[in-house]
């Protein structure tokens, strides 16, 4: 009796120790949970596919295929956090992709009679796309913020209008191809990667960045005499971060040899763009006033207003930002296809919203992270890629993604309310359903 008692006490103590170390790292438990979910999904598909999933080639493709949705999801987070929604991103992406293709295949060569293959072609196309994305985002944002029309309605209108405009521009739905050589590198196709040496340089910059930002945060907190994490934990975090970065580059990027040249491909440009966008968006959302205001509006719109925040301008800017991100994703998708087609981006809005929501963004407002949304996009793409490897038909893939979406949100909601059992039930039901569909959908 006494023995069991001490044993129990000891094990609780041990558990508490373990927890306190985890708490000291100040790692977001929700993000850690998502990383764990990705690990489980990857290992499961690896086993089910007989060793095809965790290969350099598959992970490289996965990384490239996740970029477009992930980039837009970072913007969708801010829109949903401020209690709005954007249903127009797929159509907007289609329109912007089409316009950027028009710039390089029609307007520069024919309208301005400057010919093909100019050094500036891709830059002009990108600038036009981004500027137009910002402008159209501003139009939608202004109607939402200043016009008082619900975002659902405004962007439903945008969904129809932007898609319709593609056909008005595209002379009976013509496909525009091929695109400028430099531009199409943005898609990660041939010559669309950093190559071996530059990938390692990127990795080293990443390591330096991680270490330096941990050091800076430490120094700031110390200067104001606020508590700092134990040095050992900070060092461990920095070392761990560097190992993850370098291992990722070694295995996924450099490890994948180009099917054309046989050389190591390195990190694909779309992935580089995603990394830059993610860093930029994390900075905007956590370290700038604009981001703080977006979260304040989502948490309590009245408090934000009474705090003297210009809520309308802030809301409008979230849509401007969304438009810019749509343009970046549009460039990647058209470049990857080396063509602009009229149905580019169809249903992307649903994938983008799903990625944000799987990433822990709450429709109640005020809650959601950029990194969560990026991981959400990776989870979605992992499911899709894995199911393709398992030869599961497309309708069954949709069913699985739908089931995962709902059960992920159910688990998250239950955990927020502290109902662990309910969360367990939701997780089990989701997994069983998904497994059942995967098993019966194999061809």
């Amino acid at each position: 009796m006494t023995a069991t008692h001490t044993d129990n006490a000891k094990s609780t103590e041990k558990r508490r120790d373990w927890r306190s170390v985890l708490t000291a790292t100040e790692i977001d438990t929700r993000l850690a949970g998502m990383v764990a979910a990705i690990a489980v999904i990857w290992v499961a598909f690896h086993i089910l596919s007989g060793g095809d999933f965790l290969t350099s080639r598959n992970l490289w493709n996965l990384s490239v295929q996740s970029t477009s949705i992930a980039i837009m999801a970072t913007g969708m987070v801010l829109i949903i956090v401020s209690r709005n929604i954007d249903l127009s991103v797929g159509s907007l992406l289609g329109l912007l992709g089409y316009v950027m293709a028009m710039v390089q295949t029609r307007w520069i060569p024919d309208t301005f009679d400057l010919g093909f293959g100019r050094w500036y072609t891709w830059i002009v196309a990108l600038i036009v796309g981004i500027a137009l994305g910002a402008a159209l985002g501003a139009v939608q944002g202004a109607v939402v913020a200043y016009g008082g029309v619900p975002a659902f309605i405004v962007t439903l209108g945008g969904f129809l209008v932007w898609r319709g405009l593609i056909f008005r521009m595209g002379e009976q739905g013509q496909t525009l191809s091929p695109l400028d050589d430099t531009f199409s590198r943005l898609g990660g196709g041939p010559n669309g990667s950093l190559g071996e040496i530059r990938s390692w340089i990127l990795g080293l910059i990443g390591c330096a960045g991680v270490s330096f930002s941990i050091y800076l945060a430490r120094r700031r907190r110390r200067r104001y005499d606020l508590g700092v994490r134990p040095l050992a934990i900070d060092v461990c975090l920095a070392v761990f971060g560097c190992i993850v970065i370098l291992a990722g580059i070694a295995f996924v990027a450099v490890g994948y040899e180009s099917p054309i040249s046989g050389d190591p491909t390195g990190v694909a440009y779309p992935v580089v763009i995603l990394i830059l966008v993610t860093i930029g968006m994390v900075y905007i959302s956590r370290r700038r006033r604009f981001g703080r205001y977006v979260y304040a509006i989502g948490g309590n719109p009245e408090a934000a207003e009474l705090g003297g925040i210009n809520t309308r301008k802030t809301l409008m800017l979230t849509f401007v930002l969304m438009g810019v991100l749509c343009a970046i994703s549009a460039a990647i998708q058209t470049a990857r296809l080396d063509a602009a087609v009229t149905n580019l981006g169809v249903q992307n809005e649903l994938d983008v919203i799903s990625a944000a929501v799987i990433g822990g963004t709450s429709f109640a407002g005020g809650i959601g992270t950029i990194t969560g949304a990026v991981l959400g996009a990776v989870i979605m793409q992992s499911l899709r890629s894995g199911m393709v490897l398992l030869r599961i038909d497309s309708p069954s893939q949709d069913i699985v993604v739908g089931v995962v979406l709902v059960s992920a949100v159910a688990v998250d909601a239950a955990l927020r309310l502290g109902k662990r059992r309910l969360a367990g039930i939701a997780l089990t039901v989701g997994l069983v359903l998904a497994a059942l569909i995967v098993q019966t959908g194999r061809q």
Partner: protein, 252 residues
């Protein structure tokens, strides 16, 4: 308070209407430094609306506001703050998903040279104010959602104190609090008063009003029934004013 002193705030003939309803109908009211003026009256009497005009949350349709004898324009919360007016709202105007420091500086964030939020500086300033107001307060970096009513109230008050409020509007400051926390807020009001801050106190609690206020202004249906000196009236007389809308003969 002697009559020769310039009032801290003077609101003259303030009118606010919502459609055809006169929510505030020609109210004139003054507040002196170091004084607590209680605003009482039934629901819909216009107390909160009157204070909203001073706070910039809802500008008046007509009337004048004077701060330290100067006519001022208050069109939004920023204008109000520029004149040293801070508000502690009934529903605690806090963003639940943001931490205490973030809420204290909401709309007035400190930033570094590059324009990034200076979270460390804000946390440090918050800790300094909190040590004075509520030394037990430790949760500087958790979202205020997880704090108790009293702790949340102290965040709201800390905001006013940190930014050197000269004029404080408290809308039912103790409505959401337990007895111990209410006592804490009362002590704080006494302390702020001693520092020369003028306070408008909106309250339904007649005991609070008699314990804290120097003068009591009673409103009914958008009009000012009258302003009385706390020491010259009884609670029953004030209740009579609230219910009947008439000034007792004995007062002033």
């Amino acid at each position: 308070m002697n009559g020769s002193q310039t009032p801290l705030v003077e609101m003259r003939d303030i009118r606010v209407s919502f459609g055809g309803l006169h929510a505030v109908d020609g109210v004139t009211i003054t507040l002196n430094p170091g004084e607590v003026v209680a605003l009482v009256g039934g629901n819909g009497a216009g107390k909160s609306t009157l204070m909203h005009t001073l706070a910039g949350a809802r500008p008046a349709d007509s009337g004048q506001i004077l701060v330290n004898g100067q006519v001022v324009t208050i069109a939004n919360p920023r204008d109000a703050r520029a004149h040293g007016i801070e508000v502690i709202y009934q529903k605690l105007a806090l963003a639940d998903n943001i931490d205490a420091a973030g809420n204290m500086f909401l709309g007035r964030e400190l930033h570094t040279k590059t324009g990034a939020l200076d979270e460390a500086a804000m946390a440090s300033a918050t800790r300094t104010v909190m040590q004075r107001l509520n030394p037990r307060f430790k949760n500087l970096s958790t979202p205020v959602k997880s704090l108790s009513g009293g702790q949340r109230q102290s965040v709201a008050i800390a905001r006013a104190v940190h930014f050197n409020a000269k004029i404080l509007i408290m809308d039912e400051p103790t409505a959401a609090l337990g007895p111990a926390e209410t006592e804490q807020v009362r002590e704080l009001i006494t302390q702020l008063k001693a520092e020369g801050i003028g306070i408008f106190l909106i309250s339904h609690d007649i005991h609070d009003v008699f314990d804290l206020a120097d003068r009591i202004s009673v409103m009914m249906q958008g009009r000012l029934v009258g302003t009385v000196d706390k020491n010259k009236v009884t609670k029953d007389e004030v209740l009579g004013m609230i219910i009947m809308g008439k000034k007792p003969d004995s007062a002033e």
